[in-house]
Amino acid sequence: MELAVSVSGLRKDFGAVKAVRGVDLEVQTGEVLALLGPNGAGKTTIVEILEGYQTASAGKIAVLGHDPRHDRRRMLERVGIVLQETAVEQFLTVREVLRRRASYYPHPRDPDAVIDLVGLGEKSGARVRTLSGGLQRRLDLGLALIGDPELLFLDEPTTGFDPNARREAWDIVRSLTGEGRTVLLTTHYMDEAQVLADRVAVIAKGVIVASGTPDSIGGRDTGTAKVRFVLPEQAASTAELGLADTHLSVSPIDGRRMIEVDTDSPTPLLHRLTSWAVAHDIELEGLEVARPSLEDVYLSLTAEDKA
């Protein structure tokens, strides 16, 4: 498939600050890529270089086949941008702002359809200054969509959204990718990345420390699983359950002992455990098997970086 974005060897220095230190990145057409990373990791810097706002210190960049610095105008006809900070003219109405923006593009979407799409139908005649922060952010998303872009850059697009609005925004993004459009987004919400992204890339201190699908990144699917349960009163010790040899931790909860076992092969372990329970006709309370969540993986990836 064709690449919507291709970056290699990207570097950006702000004086002594090395904000981006050698990043390679590819986004396929029709794909949603989420950039995750702590504050100051370099996400916005990377995105703004792709948008042509900033010049890279080094590296090769192509956005829809354009050089974002030297072919910016033509690139901008094909991309939509939501910047990290919202800023819309305060004294115009929602509809006016969208109509004005629509006039800049060769093939804009219908402003009223976009107003409905981002859920501002009731506010279309309201001045921007009267909208709440979250509503202004929705307008921001609408403005990015008005030019009918092939590629969307969304820098923390749902920050400030209520949970319903966030889900609506996810639906919008998904409907766009259904039409073959490409999305590059940054976010601090793991659920957002999990739900929306085909691939995630975790950035720390200007380098990509891991990338992959949300389900497999950092060995999520194959790595250590946790098996948890409350130690039944009938069992004198964990050895009786055939667990003596494995990594386990015991924490007291409500006067009982919660067992947590880290294991690379949860299947035989569960088999031993449940066989014992069935044989003794015991219901294992609180039994659960958990793979690390995206957040667990993210935290360990970005913590390593600090060490």
Partner: protein, 254 residues
């Protein structure tokens, strides 16, 4: 043709936004008229150069209006828009940057023209100001040149304004002292030291050219070429500077 349509549409939206911000509109239009009324009552019966003093300071108020609309308003607006990230967002669309700038400047020039009409109209209607018919052409040239100069200065000064809070202080700090030593509101002998200093800057030539253009006793050919040259220089140099250094992105707070 297409460019013209883009600029016209931008101009429309900018005017729309401007007139919906009552405070901004109020200050731009009310201040010069208020000054006119105050000075007229202060100077009642005073004379200068064999003429009613009104004949001197009302053209001065007119220049004040043009400078407020072009220099003060433009620089503060652009700085605010830059720091709020509004300019940055426009740069993220296919709208050509020059189209945005032309529309913004044109917006200010329209305001300046309204102010010229307003101050001269009030002057003629209520204070016996004489605007001889033979001076219309000269007034038009001077107003256009003055507007161009002070728009160029307005855009250029944003380069040295670090943030929105500093904008009014820097803009007025440069402008107000010069305005007074340029004899905008009262006659100032051209042989005085202050007037000599002021003659190197663009306000005094603008004031003198406006006064002479309307002076019913002299013909408009008494507008010295050196005044127009001064305005032209103060237009071109800031313009070149602005084109090279104008920033569309917020300054990093560091």
């Amino acid at each position: 043709m297409k460019s013209l349509r883009i600029v016209a549409s931008e101009l429309w939206y900018q005017q729309l936004a401007y007139w919906r911000n009552p405070m901004g509109a109020f200050f731009t239009f009310f201040m010069p008229v208020m000054f006119l009324v105050i000075f007229a009552s202060l100077y009642r019966g005073a004379h200068y150069d064999g003429l009613n003093l009104d004949q001197y300071f009302i053209p001065g108020i007119m220049t004040f209006g043009v400078i407020s609309a072009c220099y003060t308003n433009l620089s503060v607006t652009l700085t605010n828009q830059r720091e709020q990230g509004i300019l940055k967002r426009f740069r993220g669309t296919p709208l050509p940057p020059w189209a945005y700038m032309v529309a913004t400047v044109a917006s200010c020039v329209i305001r300046a023209l309204v102010l010229v009409a307003l101050t001269l109209g009030v002057g003629v209607a209520f204070y016996g100001l004489i605007v001889p018919a033979h001076s219309y052409g000269a007034i038009a040239v001077i107003v256009v040149l003055g507007a161009a100069t002070f728009c160029a200065l307005g855009v250029a000064i944003t380069v040295i304004i670090p943030n929105a809070d500093a904008a009014p202080a820097i803009v007025n700090g440069v402008y107000l002292p010069l305005m007074f030593i340029s004899g905008t509101f009262f006659p100032l002998s051209s042989s005085s030291v202050l007037a000599k200093i002021a003659s190197y800057f663009p306000i005094r030539p603008f004031v003198l050219a406006s006064y002479n253009a309307m002076n019913p006793q002299v013909h408009s050919s008494s507008i010295h070429a050196v005044w127009l040259e001064n305005l032209a220089i103060w237009c071109v140099i800031p313009l070149v500077f602005a084109i090279r250094r104008f920033s569309w992105l917020p300054r990093r707070r560091s």
